[in-house]
């Protein structure tokens, strides 16, 4: 029997697919960013329905509050209002299709490995991604934890930031000269 939750899930999935398609296929860069916003929101709702609220919130915070705004900035500063993007070449299309097929295969493989054949009943462990458990895992130096990768990534980000500032300063200097 199909439950209310299932109907919701399928609707959400359909919406997600349509929006993802729009993100990729829209000729207007701004429209595709908006579609991307929809994708993020739908994914967040999916996470919530999987009882992974923390992940959903993190997704919203990072993508909507951060990345999407930067993408919007980039779009605003580079594209014309109502401007259309040129058609990608055949080579690019081919590469894109191959890459997405490959990643789909990887994802399906992973899903198969963890959950077996599609449609099998899985018991979702509640609060698998609660704030507390995530916090403990992030700050756990042991093999289960992510303290060392987390710190490594922080160092990488710091290096990237310093590098960005250095580049910006250099270009400002050369700009002043010219």
């Amino acid at each position: 029997m199909i439950s209310v939750a299932d109907i919701c899930f399928y609707c959400l999935g359909a919406m997600l697919l349509i929006l993802a398609g729009l993100t990729v296929l829209s000729k207007n860069l701004f429209r595709s960013v908006l579609a991307f916003l929809g994708v993020i929101l739908c994914t967040a709702v999916l996470f919530i329905s999987l009882r992974a609220e923390m992940v959903a919130l993190a997704q919203l915070m990072v993508y909507v509050g951060g990345i999407l705004i930067f993408v919007l900035y980039a779009v605003f500063l580079t594209s014309e209002l109502g401007g259309k993007m040129p058609d990608p070449g055949q080579r690019r299309t081919f590469i894109a299709v191959t890459a997405s097929m490959f990643s789909l295969a990887v994802l399906l493989g992973l899903a198969w490995q963890f959950y077996g054949p599609l449609g099998a009943e899985q018991v979702i462990e509640p609060n698998i991604a609660s704030l507390k458990s995530l916090g403990f895992r992030l700050l756990n130096p042991g093999p289960d934890g992510f303290l060392i990768p987390f710190e490594l990534i922080s160092v990488l980000l710091l290096a990237a930031m310093v590098g960005a500032i250095a580049i910006a300063k250099q270009s400002a200097k050369s700009g002043a000269k010219s």
Binding site: E53, M61, G65, L68, L72, Y73, F76
Partner: protein
């Protein structure tokens, strides 16, 4: 996080009466309608309050004609705004132009869902309430950005660019201030944060952490003023420079959406400040029994409103006193002063919590 549930006698009663999925839907609907009513009523009242308070600051009377004390003035304004022709300039990006006004109001609506108005008056109490608030408040920025760009007006574009830079940077120090409370109280759920402040007034986080609490409160007020886009930090509107900034091209109902969101956001931010620092819905207790009982007799939502409106008064007071900062000063204020200060304050608070140097 429990799925949509009202922890209120009404919610329990509905759950008894109806089978479970319908009860959940009914409860959800009630919650949504209640929040929507709250949004509308608060916005209307705040518009009136702002006009009245600002008038008194400026040695004026403010609205007096429509209704007693001009209380119906915002209703008249709203009718006027709704009746107005919704002018759409020919060169705007239609989707962006129509979508933008909806986003900020959605954001403030979503924030109000987790604010604990009283012991049993909260739509949703996620574990990660603070994270939720920061996550959904990003919607407001998006609306401003999209609207400013979609209007195809240089003033709007300048305003939205300013807004992006400003809101993005001030979110950092605001989150750090909230993080301080999370650290001190050991929970990120807004309800539990309130409950962690039980006791006398000195148990409110503003006083409980010596110095650090007060500093965090002030930093929160400053950075939330910037987040709210209110004077003296209303750079993206900046009427005198940008003739209205991102909403230059908006009229009628779509303008009023931005307008409404601004006021509801102010209420939400003030409610958040009251929750985090001023004990939320808890009655102020001074440690002397008879008075305490009297104070505790007053329902929690009234205390909550009183605290929130105190903060709103602070917002209004600064808005109608100070001149506006310049955009580069605003950003250097954040990056050179507020952010280091809130980081240092976080460190101080961590030390205090670690050695338990809190007011008992």
């Amino acid at each position: 996080m429990t799925p949509l549930s009202i922890t209120h006698p009404l919610g329990d009663w509905i759950r008894q009466q109806l089978p479970s999925p319908f009860a959940a839907i009914a409860n959800g609907l009630i919650a949504v309608i209640a929040i929507a009513m709250l949004v509308v009523v608060t916005a209307i009242f705040l518009v009136w309050l702002e006009r009245k308070v600002c008038a008194r600051f400026q040695a004026r009377l403010g609205p007096t004609r429509v209704g007693p004390f001009g209380l119906l003035q915002p209703v008249a304004d709203a009718i006027k705004l709704l009746m107005k022709e919704n002018i759409r300039p020919r060169t705007v990006d239609q989707l962006a132009y129509f979508l933008a006004p909806l986003l900020p109001i959605t954001g403030s609506f979503l924030v109000l869902i987790v604010i604990p108005f009283d012991h049993n008056l909260q739509v949703l109490d996620p574990d990660a309430g603070i994270v939720y608030v920061t996550a959904v408040s990003g919607m407001g920025i998006l609306g401003v950005l999209i609207g400013g760009w979609g209007s195809n007006n240089k003033y709007s574009l300048l305003g939205s660019m300013r807004a992006g830079a400003q809101l993005f940077s001030y979110e950092l120090s605001m989150v750090l201030c909230m993080l301080l409370i999370v650290m001190a109280s050991g929970t990120a759920s807004l309800r539990n944060i309130v409950l962690s402040q039980q006791g006398t007034i000195l148990d409110w986080w503003i006083f409980k952490l010596p110095v650090a609490g007060l500093v965090a409160f002030l930093l929160f007020i400053v950075s939330s003023t910037a987040e709210l886009n209110r004077g003296p930090l209303d750079l993206s509107e900046a009427e005198q420079e940008l003739t209205g900034g991102f909403h230059t091209e908006y009229t009628g109902i779509s303008f009023s959406m931005f307008f409404l969101a601004e006021f509801v956001n102010m209420f939400a931010a003030a409610g958040l400040g009251a929750t985090l620092f001023l004990g939320g819905f808890l009655a102020p207790q001074i440690g002397w029994h008879p008075v305490d009982q009297l104070l505790a007799f007053i329902p929690g939502f009234i205390w909550f409103a009183a605290k929130a409106y105190f903060l709103i008064f602070l917002y209004m007071w600064t808005r109608w006193t100070f001149p506006r900062l310049r955009i580069d000063h605003l950003l250097s204020l954040e990056w050179k002063f507020l952010l280091p200060a809130s980081l240092a304050n976080l460190l101080l608070a961590a030390t205090l919590v670690l050695f338990k140097w809190v007011i008992p």
